[in-house]
């Protein structure tokens, strides 16, 4: 089989775009797991919720003539859309934590997981019943240009998605490693009880975690809507599982691992879809997940931690 450079480059860029979305979503899983040691099964619905809020904000604001009058106004429109969706989804995350997970903080580990499945089921069906059971078109208000590079076609949308993803990651990374709040997050994930004794307000740190994760997930959801052109009530399920896989591949609890895992998974999936089979595209992530968990359960960047007794 002759490998054409153009096709490889094309799949590479497609994979990076996809991987950016997985990585943003994976950060939410890894943040929560790092602090609470629970899989936030409902995180996939944050992706969906963010996309819906983004769509409605975009539709609402684009009715105002000012926002479509010039290029910079359009940019402002998109910035506002992202901000509203991210803040709204972040607040939803905090509310879910407060009512569904906080009462179970000392329960056996199965309990919050089941509660999270319940939240996921609830949100998905709320969107199905109260918004629409069909997929809604997600409009793109700016002109998407395509650049030809070495036989591959790279769109300005892909460049934007990859660019903003990397920007958000840099912001998060410096927030966690440089600021005081970030330091308290790291302390809480190392040892919750001791961090509490050192004067850190644990509940506030957990709430903050449940704000940041869903906010990033919402951005990924809007990207997905813009990239594929439509959104649906169950759009979160498959990306959610893949993002979780990405978090595990990178080493769960490790932020940089989640970023690496997301991009890696996106790349592998694009290449596999091009060279193996499109029908089994979704299987690849699960196979990778199982292989990584068997041979390197700590992930690529994570350290293997024995379960505390």
């Amino acid at each position: 089989m002759s490998v054409e450079l153009g096709i490889v480059l094309q799949q590479f860029v497609n994979g990076l775009t996809l991987g950016g979305m997985y990585a943003l979503l994976a950060l939410g899983y890894t943040l929560v797991y790092g602090i609470l040691l629970m899989i936030n099964f409902a995180h996939a619905e944050m992706f969906m919720f963010g996309a819906y809020v983004g769509l409605f904000t975009l539709q609402g604001l684009s009715q105002i003539p000012f926002f479509t009058s010039s290029g910079s106004a359009l940019l402002l429109l998109y910035v506002l859309t992202f901000l509203v969706a991210m803040v709204a989804t972040g607040i939803l995350g905090v509310v879910i934590e407060r009512f569904a997970y906080r009462p179970l903080r000392h329960a056996p580990r199965l309990a919050p997981l089941i509660s999270a499945i319940g939240v996921s089921l609830f949100l998905q069906n709320a969107a199905l019943l109260w918004i629409s059971s069909r997929s809604l078109p997600f409009p793109v208000l700016f002109e998407v240009r395509a650049f030809k590079v070495g036989g591959a076609s790279i769109s300005s949308m892909q460049i934007m998605i990859i660019g903003i993803t990397i920007l958000l990651m840099l912001v998060l990374d410096s927030f966690v490693s440089r600021t005081r709040l970030g330091k308290s997050m790291r302390a809480t994930s190392q040892d919750r009880d001791t961090a509490g004794l050192m004067g850190i307000d644990i509940n506030r740190v957990i709430a903050l975690t449940f704000f940041i994760g869903p906010a990033l997930g919402a951005a990924a959801g809007i990207f997905s809507g813009m990239y594929y052109g439509n959104i649906k009530y169950n759009m979160g399920f498959i990306p959610g599982i893949k993002a979780f896989t990405a978090a595990v591949v990178g080493g769960i609890g490790n932020l940089r691992g989640a970023m690496l895992g997301g991009f890696l998974l996106g790349l592998l999936e694009s290449l596999a879809a091009a060279y193996i089979s499109t029908g089994y595209k979704d299987v690849i992530a699960f196979v990778i997940l199982i292989i990584v968990l068997i041979f390197k359960p700590g992930g690529l960047l994570g350290e293997s931690v024995a379960e505390k007794v």
Partner: protein, 405 residues
Amino acid sequence: MAAIRNGLTAVNDFFSTRVGRILFFVVLAAITLFMPVFFQAAGNVFMVRIFALVGIYVLLALGLNIIVGSAGLLNLGYIAFYAVGAYAGMNLGFLVQELLVGLEFFGEAPENWSYWMLLPFAAIPGVVAGIAIGAPVLRLRGDYLAIVTLGFGEIVRIAITNDIFGLTNGASGLPGVGQTVAPAAGQLWARENLSTGNFIFSKDLFWYYVIIALVLFTIFVITRLDNSRLGRAWVAMREDEVAASSVGVNILTTKLWAFALGAAWGGIAGHTYAYWVGFISPESFNFMESVLIVCMVVLGGMGSIPGVILGAVLITAVPELIRAIATSPALSGLLTPEQAAAVGDYRFLIFGGLMVVMMAIRPQGFLPSKRRARELKPVDDTILAQENQQLWEAEHKHDSDSDII
């Protein structure tokens, strides 16, 4: 909330007394055995089907209960075992039918015996699938296991949709063109000999009784299992893996047994469902089905056989019943057809909310097993008092012992 909780406890206590228990079983047996006949006589085939469907879900929920309830391993891909059982049953059935034709020994329609001949082996495809997924991943921690089993369920569904090995006929389902599913032996006999006047002993009624027999067999086996060495090993492992392994429980083998035995019932239920309905397609085996079965186990009461059965009955039957009652002519003024249909649509929303609420206020489920309740809700005052009493007695027994010495 407290009133509901006390009410449930009171109901539970009543059914624990001798009189309550006998009364309960008589009523339950009467409903189970005669209600479908009554519906059939009334010409309501829909309700007979609901009864049989509830039976299938009871089988599935009891099977998953071995994995989730007894052994404490959350499996979010249980439907895969059901799918494997159904597809294996159909495909093997086609093979067996061909072999049987021409054997006069089995009477005029030998192909009708394929269901019965395969039933003793129906568990095998499920068990094989259970071990295949269990062996590599059971070393994982509980929450990872949940996601991996979910992935496994999706892999099976995607493989079926893509017509894997040319056995599943892809999205259009089985039987494909040129294939037939023969009615099981006994079905036609019952129709000819047990029908009287307007009452027809229908296919659905026949399968209902087959399923009930399987449910009874399952309850028998699971009760025996729970009281066996393996059952005690599951409980020990569920409560504390490290402690269990230090007293000689082989964790991996014990988990694998739970997976294999739980999956066996998925296989049996799938086999039976395939022959009852006579048609299977990948849509019947999606992730939501797995979640529903988990809901049945969790809401009913993990580890408790009556609880799990109650969960399966509630979750399968209640939305259908409400819809059926609401659309019946007698109550046509009460709900509009749209509202009645909405009841069915809202069920997932309600189940999702219910799971969250149950985890917060009653994690042990509606009808909990006593041991599991104590484990999940140790702050219960009466149980705490009991345990303190036992502790006190144990300490004082020790004191008197040392006095003698």
